[in-house]
């Protein structure tokens, strides 16, 4: 089960993910990111501080947006990841493709740098 909340802060869309992302709940994450992109946000931050587990399907969702966001010049920064979740990202080599920060201010700073 997963809970996804979106709130806007300083012109960036913050998507907070709470719980586990597995094959079925990954659809919700996909929907949230798609909405954010569709609504024209120029910066997307993903709050992973309450993310307990992410399956390959969930990772697939992040992966599938890499190209699209690059083309549209929208930086997406993930932050606050727990060690285990971060490990999953790094083993798959997804950490190199995504922008990952440890805290929210850092994530904002990184997003600002990237959007220039």
């Amino acid at each position: 089960m997963v809970h996804i909340k979106r709130l806007q802060e300083d012109g960036s869309d913050i998507i907070s993910v709470v719980g586990d992302i597995d094959a079925s709940s990954s659809i919700e994450l996909d929907l949230a990111i798609a909405k954010s992109v569709g609504e024209g946000f120029k910066k997307i931050l993903v709050d992973c501080s309450a993310l307990e587990y992410i399956s390959s399907a969930g990772l697939g969702v992040f992966m599938s947006y890499i190209e699209e966001l690059k083309d549209k010049n929208i930086p997406m920064v993930l932050f606050g990841m727990k060690e285990k979740v971060a490990n999953t990202f790094s083993i798959l080599g997804l950490a190199e493709l995504l922008h990952i920060a440890s805290t929210k201010p850092e994530a904002k700073k990184l997003a600002d740098e990237l959007s220039v």
């Binding site: 094959a23 399907a57 990772l59 599938s64 083993i91 798959l92 190199e96 493709l97």
Partner: protein
């Protein structure tokens, strides 16, 4: 069968002989009486012969009629009628002969008259006995213990009267009367058993009435004939015993008469209600049809058709329609003697008047909507009732019945149709459940096939070398996973190894797995550097993998000449390596991104070549995340540390023993033999 036939013939012969002796002896006695001579034969002979004649005929008919199971009620009546007809025709032939003789001396001779009398008596008795046997069967239809006993008593009484007659014990007129009254009472009690009449249909009742009427005629004819002849003989010989002086004959006649009259009257009075009985019977049959309509070759459509037909015939509706709502194919409409337009007009009218009823499918109650029909323009119907058809608590359709008469439906009719509608609902529900079961079965079958395909993709035999031994383990959960491992000898000193995990599950995962196998087998033979292998594999997969899918893999080339392992990791779980010289285990956490993550040339930046030297005793453990992510009851993961520890415990043993131990530890940890993911591991032991 043969025995019965022989017995029937024997009995018939016996009765004929008895009758011939009876005629001869009777005529002799009469002759000697008229001539005032001492009789040449004993006086009791005719009586005895009559008894034998009656008993033979009694059993004859018993075999002919009572034991014949194939006879139905009208057949029984028909048998009686036919016997009567034959008897009457024979009798009439003799009467004609008598008439032709005219007023000759022979015609008025008492002896000749006696002969004619005996013929008529025999015919009459045979007719009575055949009727008696038939009536017996009718009375004993749906018998009870008490009824059988009463009948036994009656039969024994009849037999006693027969003996009483032949012994010629003439006590007094009152004794005779008492005997007759007792038997008459029994007859009346027995005649109350008319259950068979209820089972006749309308046509059969008319037939029965006609047959009974004709039987009355025969009875009357014979009674008249026998009486008139005997009274004629009586004038010549006063001691002549006529028919009516035999109590048995009287009793038999009385029984046959009374039961015939009772039957006739009961059938006559049952005529108007017979249609109701038939109707009920038809309802039962229809009900059965609906409940049995779910056979393999039938479908929902046939249930609807049967429901419509049965309901219409049950309530004599002039028209009907059946509307089925369905999301999948837009609903269906069945009509009976009404056009679609006409029904739509009525429905539209009801809607206009805002009638909340079964017709709008929002109600689950049967509604009598007749009162709204009066205001429909030009409609021929004056009565309308509607029934909902409910499947699993949901109204799926409406059955509407129409009549041209006002107030055409009574409570009984509503109740019957409502049971029909309920039964149809149950039938349809069963049908849908069955359909669902089939679907699930088919889905399961497909999964099974996918699983078999996946299993067949894994190598049956792994490569071996003097330098190393390999053993592998793969166990998958109910769902089809996407774990893949394989080995391939490139040349005499190089062997390629791969372990991969396709994201996702089910048939798609198995499909991608087979693609991976194809890529491995075609690229590995080209002696590529591990990095280049992954780059090319990524390129090949870029167009096959759907959005969001990827494959994590690690590719190895073991070179036995240089004793090195060249490998490249593409997002797969880090290899667990045991170095025997240092007695240490470690995870080889090198850079590398999974295949399909980046589908451009940029991918080459994300993977790298790695190289390690191996020595005898080293162990390499390749595995998938199913193992490290295996959970116990406390939701803890098996994780890297436990895996590492498990290897350390048995690192010096053979590859097979290592594999067994790791899997053993894994099951021990998860605490059950149930697998919730795919467990795949490949152990390479160098020597």
């Amino acid at each position: 069968m043969f025995r019965t036939k022989a017995i029937i013939r024997l009995l018939f012969l016996g009765s004929v002989i008895a009758w011939l002796v009876l005629v001869f002896s009777d005529i002799t006695i009469l002759y000697s009486e008229i001539r005032q001579l001492p009789p040449g034969v004993p006086k009791w002979l005719p009586g005895l012969m009559l008894d034998i004649f009656v008993v033979c005929l009694f059993y004859y008919y018993r075999y002919r009629i009572e034991k014949d199971e194939s006879l139905n009620f009208t057949d029984l009546l028909w048998k009686v009628f036919a016997t009567g007809l034959i008897a009457t025709v024979v009798s009439l032939v003799f009467r004609l002969g008598e008439f032709l003789l005219g007023a000759s001396k022979l015609a008025s001779d008492p002896l000749f008259k006696d002969f004619i009398y005996q013929i008529n008596l025999a015919l009459f008795l045979s007719f009575l006995l055949s009727a008696y046997t038939s009536w017996k069967r009718l009375i004993l239809y749906q018998k009870s213990k008490w009824l059988i006993r009463t009948w036994m008593v009656f039969e024994v009484c009849l037999f006693l009267t027969l003996l009483y007659d032949s012994l010629q014990l003439t006590f007094s007129g009152t004794t005779n009367t008492i005997i007759i009254i007792v038997i008459a009472l029994l007859v009346i009690v027995l005649s109350a058993n008319m259950r068979w009449v209820a089972y006749l249909n309308f046509k059969q009742k008319w037939t029965s009435l006609l047959l009974l009427l004709l039987s009355f005629f025969y009875l009357g004819y014979f009674l008249f004939t026998v009486n008139s002849i005997s009274s004629f003989i009586n004038t010549a010989s006063p001691t002549f015993q006529d028919f009516s002086s035999h109590i048995f004959n009287v009793c038999l006649l009385c029984f046959v008469m009374v039961y015939s009259i009772f039957s006739f009257l009961v059938i006559l009075f049952n005529l108007p209600t017979s249609s109701v009985f038939e109707q009920k019977l038809e309802e039962v049959i229809n009900f059965q049809r609906i409940s049995q309509s779910i056979q393999t070759e039938q479908n929902e459509e046939s249930v609807y058709n049967i429901l419509l037909d049965s309901s219409v015939s049950a309530v004599f509706a002039d028209a009907a329609w059946l509307e089925i709502e369905s999301e999948t194919n837009g609903g269906r409409f069945f009509t009976y003697k009404i056009t679609k337009e006409e029904s739509e007009q009525i429905r539209g009218h009801l809607k206009q008047h805002n009638v909340r009823g079964a017709l709008d499918q929002g109600s689950d109650k049967t509604k009598n909507l007749s009162k709204y029909l009066a205001s429909v323009k030009g409609a021929r119907f004056r009565s309308l009732i509607a029934f909902p058809i409910i499947v699993r608590g949901e109204t799926i359709g409406t059955l509407a019945l129409l009549k041209e008469l006002p107030d055409g439906f009574n409570k009984e009719m509503m109740r019957i149709v409502s049971t029909f509608a309920n039964q149809a609902g149950i039938s349809i529900e069963n049908f849908r459940l069955m359909e669902q079961a089939f679907q699930t079965e088919r889905y399961k079958e497909e999964l099974k096939i996918a699983k078999t395909v996946q299993k067949s993709l894994l190598p049956a035999k792994l490569e071996s070398d003097p330098d190393f031994e390999i053993s592998a383990f793969a166990q998958s959960a109910d769902e089809v996973g996407g774990d893949y491992y394989d080995t391939l000898r490139i040349n005499d000193h190089q062997v390629a190894l791969i372990i991969a995990d396709v994201s996702g599950k089910g048939t798609t995962a198995a499909f991608h797995m087979s693609q991976m196998k194809g890529i491995f087998h075609s690229l590995a033979q080209q002696e590529l550097e591990p990095k280049e292998f992954l780059e090319r594999a990524n390129q090949a997969l870029a167009f096959c993998l759907e959005r969001g899918s990827f494959i994590s893999a690690t590719y190895f080339v073991v070179d036995t000449k240089t004793k090195t392992i060249h490998y490249s990791r593409a997002g797969h779980c880090p290899v667990l390596y045991y170095k025997a010289s240092e007695n240490k285990t470690q995870y080889l956490k090198d850079r590398g991104t999974a295949l399909g993550m980046v589908r451009t040339r940029d991918y080459c930046r994300l993977v790298e070549n790695n190289e390690i030297h191996y020595a005898a005793g080293d162990v390499m453990v390749l595995y998938t995340d199913g193992i490290t992510e295996a959970k116990n009851s406390k939701s803890e993961e098996f994780d890297y540390d436990r895996l590492e520890k498990a290897l350390q415990e048995v690192a010096e043993k053979s590859s097979q023993q290592i594999e067994k131990h790791i899997i053993g530890r894994l099951y021990e940890f998860s605490g059950s033999s149930l697998i919730n993911d795919d467990y795949t591991a490949m152990i390479i032991k160098f020597r």
